[in-house]
Symmetry: C2
Subunit: 348 residues, 2 copies
Amino acid sequence: MDPSGLSCPSPLTASGRILLGHGSGGRLSAELIREFFLARFGNPYLDRLDDQAVVEIGGQRLALTTDSFVVRPLFFPGGDIGRLAVNGTVNDLAMAGARPLFLAAGFILEEGLALDDLAAILDSMRDACRDTGVLLVTGDTKVVDKGSGDQCFINTTGVGLVAHARYLSANQARPGDLVVLSGPIGDHGMAVMSRRAGIAFETEIESDTAPLHDLVGSMLETGAELRCLRDPTRGGLAATLNELALAAGVGIEIDEAKIPVRPSVQAACELLGLDPLYVANEGKLVAIVRAADAPALVDAMQRHARGRESTVVGAVTDEHPRMVVMRTAIGGMRIVDLHPGEILPRIC
Amino acid sequence: MDPSGLSCPSPLTASGRILLGHGSGGRLSAELIREFFLARFGNPYLDRLDDQAVVEIGGQRLALTTDSFVVRPLFFPGGDIGRLAVNGTVNDLAMAGARPLFLAAGFILEEGLALDDLAAILDSMRDACRDTGVLLVTGDTKVVDKGSGDQCFINTTGVGLVAHARYLSANQARPGDLVVLSGPIGDHGMAVMSRRAGIAFETEIESDTAPLHDLVGSMLETGAELRCLRDPTRGGLAATLNELALAAGVGIEIDEAKIPVRPSVQAACELLGLDPLYVANEGKLVAIVRAADAPALVDAMQRHARGRESTVVGAVTDEHPRMVVMRTAIGGMRIVDLHPGEILPRIC
């Protein structure tokens, strides 16, 4: 079976228009990036398809990352677009093992946005900056006429210092490595969806939005042979593992029984017909690590507040390259593919 | 006369909502930045209110700047949103005297955007990157549902290296300094407006969008005592000079007869009832320089393709601090204030 055949012929240009699925983090997103962006801007930094670039300036290794946030609604249980915008970019820096230093923020505000809402969003950003020690040093604000935007979009770009000598990248996974997950999945996506759908569950689901740079610091201190770190945001754990498998040309096998999902999130997913594997997280990470180092790594992660439920959820294999396969709870095997379209638009 | 009284009491929160004028680059923008952003994030980098932050990392001085582009229409005579997004950020780096190195780009695409338009925009960005030697190393793409955006918004964030030892900042202007302008004003704004209004002039007006880092390099080479560089984009020359006057606590006096305006731009402005002083430029700069160094500086600028029509247009004075005054063509004096609202929405 040749998994590359799965994305060919391309549905990308069938309509000649941008579809919601192009922003999903799934297969259409991957095609858009490959055919429209890499085809024009390909360079050794961009080609790695990591969530950040690590560049060298005057002997210093700096991580640079950018993200636009278009989440709807602006406020949801456990967070808001402001907190998300800071933590999300801090985390993309952290996934390179970088210490977050400076932040640039660009706002696109829609005419009519309530100033009280803007104030609340900025309060969140200020608090999140303080919590992570990152400094907002430059910004830009644009206003678009009513109907040309949706209240508030935020772009955050982060610069961090890579103080270690490791090369963490999606293409570094090797057969035999283990896959470590830092905690239960699906919280952020289901928190937003529950608010959007107006659903109330017995236990309110809160977004897991949180900065992960300190957890990563503890992981690096163990000296474990880390290959790669990723935060499974848009597209969920499924998209992240597929990206890693594709970039490294390896297979990944995960074990459903080992993947933590809160009962409330599981219940909400079932109610809405969603698979938690595809639901966005904003405070979790996936680490690929040399098998021998996994126990010490997981131990260190579990001792950190952001990684209490860390656990090994799978392994890298040389079988079925570029494909993610899951051993299901009832003992079968199932392909975990990139989702072809969009299931949770504007989740971040 | 106390010009600080001009912005008090604040109209900012009168409606409790974001108005188009908050994105104008005029007085409402300034108030929004002061009362909402600086009040929360104030730090020595942000407080300078320059178009970029210059930070030090490991002994290197780096410039960091971000800008969101929401220009409408996407394509206009002389350029498009893609070229603008690269050149605009390159120029904000250049205004710190930085060599542009790396670019991060975030796209917010509206469902339904024609892929051909996206391709044309990305082609422009690729060409502009090549022309300026800047490398696009990381990016992000989000898609919003139809009606929640307007085809294509682009955020670009740039990192550049400040190789010189000068401290260029808005607050550095001193009485006696001269004000140098690199060429005719109003081209970009009137090119966009003419396309938007469906007006055809005898001579088509083209946007002046262009990278200015090389011109700045030539200026730095002269060894002139430069105080500050700014590109007069949104809000035009009037906004830029007001920002400089406010930041440095000085007065600025300009001479209308010396400010170059193309006849076609002048005619278009008159037709639409606009003052070219308030119209955006995307390939011009204003330099504040020690008077004794101005002749050599202007000479060097005139020898550069992007500065052929460079000229001294005014001077910094200790009279009327924080106020810009213009000697009109007919010999009178006129206050050039920050525009209270928005005259050219979504011009960049």
